[in-house]
């Protein structure tokens, strides 16, 4: 719902066929627009939109909903190495690290070689992402899936959670 302020709801509705054909299993195109914004449906779930005469609208809708987390894009956690100063907050605050590396509960950084579940490690003065396999955004259920602690608590704002398809 955070994207509502950036996306104008009526602009989205204007890009749809506005026929209320119900082929998407929703009663009206207005309901489909709301489902798009909530992330429950994707632009390709509207069969009339895939026809050639709506190609421009489909391209615009795909562009608008690029970063919302649906549509088959991959999760990336990018660390800006110029801003990072190796303070280690991302290692200590990550709930996966806290569960599997008991040292980090008392503020100590985990040992090398890293645990297979560990997400972040500090190497040569900078923070480094090891693997995303056990990140809460991919593995957990419900509200835990919205985990953003590494991005919110980084003192230098060096971490960004983004969805895109890496080339």
């Amino acid at each position: 719902m955070e994207r509502m302020s950036q996306l104008n709801f009526m602009d989205i509705y204007k890009l749809l066929p506005k026929t209320n054909c119900k082929e998407c299993d929703l009663p009206t195109c207005m309901a489909f627009a709301l489902a798009l914004v909530k992330g429950e449906k994707q632009p390709k779930d509207c069969p009339p939109l895939l026809k050639p005469k709506y190609k421009q609208s489909l391209d615009k809708l795909n562009e608008l909903f690029e970063g919302v987390g649906v549509g088959g894009k991959d999760l990336h956690i990018d660390i800006d190495t110029e801003k990072c100063d190796g303070c280690g907050v991302c290692v200590i605050i990550c709930p996966v690290n806290a569960r599997y590396c008991p040292n980090s509960l008392s503020g100590k950084l985990p040992d090398f070689p890293p645990n297979e579940y560990q997400l972040f490690q500090i190497k040569n003065g900078k923070s480094e992402l090891l693997n995303l396999e056990y990140c809460r955004r991919l593995e957990a259920e419900g509200r835990e899936r919205e985990c953003r602690v590494c991005e919110v608590y980084c003192p230098r704002d060096a971490i960004e959670i983004k969805y895109y398809t890496a080339k």
Partner: protein, 442 residues
């Protein structure tokens, strides 16, 4: 997921000598030829410290100034010149000693006693004032482990911990200690600072920022002391010293109603109010809260630098005095002048600088007086002080090429280790000061 390569030989735990936290949760990976491959756990400040072994400014041979130019000589010749300079002076001055081990500090005091000199550490322009107050009245201090496990309010008064000690906030605020297992959400951060420093970037909605005007510290502390003694809040409607009523109410509530709090103070308190004793007021505030409050317990920790606490412990235990140490006839005498007045009034005729750079750090009216008399510098790297010295004795880097004892910022002793051999078999600070003492006895 191990990262073994063919070249990896061993992994060693490392106590980092980068700042006065002396973190011990770091590891270094060595190759088969005993070279450093990678480091794990070091923040950027510690990583730059390890990289000093590759510095281009390293001095590898003793140097003496002849006809105005520095020339390389043997260690014997340099020590003979040191003896000649000391014998022709009556009031030598010894300064520095913060960035060395406790063993080197002990040898420095023995040398000062032998040559009837005046010895002071960098604490005299830094937290020396704190300890002068502590010796008079005592203070309620605590250790870092107590902060991790029990503290829930952190007050940073004139201190920018995110930049001076990068891993301090990580260890204390973001950790999940034994009695604070929920972690960051139940800890409150209060920042008292005229400007929004990097530490302000850590603060969130539950934290408090007090934009104190410079020079108004004593007024605010006196006001807080008055409010703590009253049952109901009597904060004036338009605030006090430029701080709003709501912020002040929250501040007082945190002081009276938290379970365990810590006040951390730094340069913002020491150097900005020269005629007022703010440190004494802060210590009295902590004592007042501990006496009157039913549930809260507060402590106070000065944010010191490197091994400053080590020099204070060493000098207090050897001599019973931590600053203004002066010897005459090989005995300790009363001295009523501190380092800055000695330099300003030209009451010295040569100086021995150990692991410090006063030409850069002191104002030019003082440092120009140092350069007019002979300087003996004991240092690893080329600095403005070594460029103007008459004799330079190079040494090994503390904590990396030589081992020893140091004291952390909360007065806990830590052991530094040697992980690599120094180039050209350079001695440590401790060994070179011992050689000077032995030379003077010949």
């Amino acid at each position: 997921m191990t990262q073994r390569t063919n070249n990896q030989e061993r992994i060693q735990r490392f106590v980092c000598p980068g700042c006065s936290l002396y973190c011990d949760d770091n590891q270094i990976v060595f190759s088969k030829n005993n070279e450093i491959l990678d480091t794990y756990g070091l923040c950027l400040k510690g990583y730059k410290k390890i990289n000093e072994i590759n510095s281009k400014n390293r001095i590898k041979n003793p140097l003496i100034r002849k006809n105005g130019v520095l020339k390389e000589v043997s260690l014997d010749e340099a020590l003979n010149k040191v003896k000649e300079l000391i014998n022709s002076s009556q009031k030598p001055l010894l300064y520095g000693f913060i960035n060395t081990t406790c063993e080197a500090q002990i040898n420095g005091i023995h040398l000062a006693k032998k040559i009837n000199g005046f010895i002071e550490s960098n604490a005299s322009i830094c937290h020396g004032q704190t300890y002068l107050n502590v010796i008079e009245s005592g203070f309620n201090s605590t250790t870092l482990n107590e902060c991790i496990n029990k503290a829930d309010v952190f007050i940073f008064w004139g201190s920018n911990a995110e930049e001076s000690h990068p891993k301090f906030l990580t260890k204390t605020i973001f950790s999940r200690g034994k009695f604070r297992i929920t972690g960051r959400e139940i800890k409150t951060l209060i920042l008292v600072d005229p400007r929004k420093t990097a530490t302000y970037g850590v603060a969130g909605v539950r934290d408090l920022y007090i934009p104190l005007k410079p020079g108004k510290d004593l007024e605010l502390i006196q006001f807080l002391k008055d409010m703590i003694l009253k049952e109901k809040s009597e904060v004036p409607a338009d605030g006090f010293v430029g701080v709003d009523k709501q912020d002040l109410n929250r501040f007082i509530l945190n002081l009276k109603g938290s379970e365990n709090g810590v006040i951390l103070f730094g340069q913002g308190v020491i150097n900005s109010n020269p005629n007022e004793n703010v440190i004494k007021a802060l210590i009295e505030l902590v004592d007042l809260i501990n006496e009157t409050s039913k549930r809260s317990r507060f402590s106070i920790i000065p944010m010191t630098g490197h091994n400053m606490n080590g020099f204070i412990q060493v000098s207090l235990s050897l001599l019973g005095k931590m600053g203004q140490i002066e010897f005459s006839d090989n005995q300790l005498i009363e001295s009523n002048k501190d380092l800055i007045s000695k330099i300003k009034d030209d009451e010295f005729d040569m100086s021995i600088i150990v692991a410090s750079d006063p030409i850069s750090n002191l104002p030019i009216t003082l440092s120009s007086k140092l350069t007019r008399k002979p300087i003996i510098a004991i240092d690893c790297f080329i600095t403005p002080t070594t460029k103007l010295a008459d004799v330079i004795l190079p040494v090994a880097i503390t904590g990396i090429e030589t081992d020893g004892l140091v004291y952390r910022m909360d007065n806990i002793p830590m052991n530094l280790q040697k992980i690599i051999d120094p180039p050209a078999n350079l001695p440590s600070d401790e060994q070179i000061l011992l050689k000077i003492i032995q030379k003077m006895e010949e």
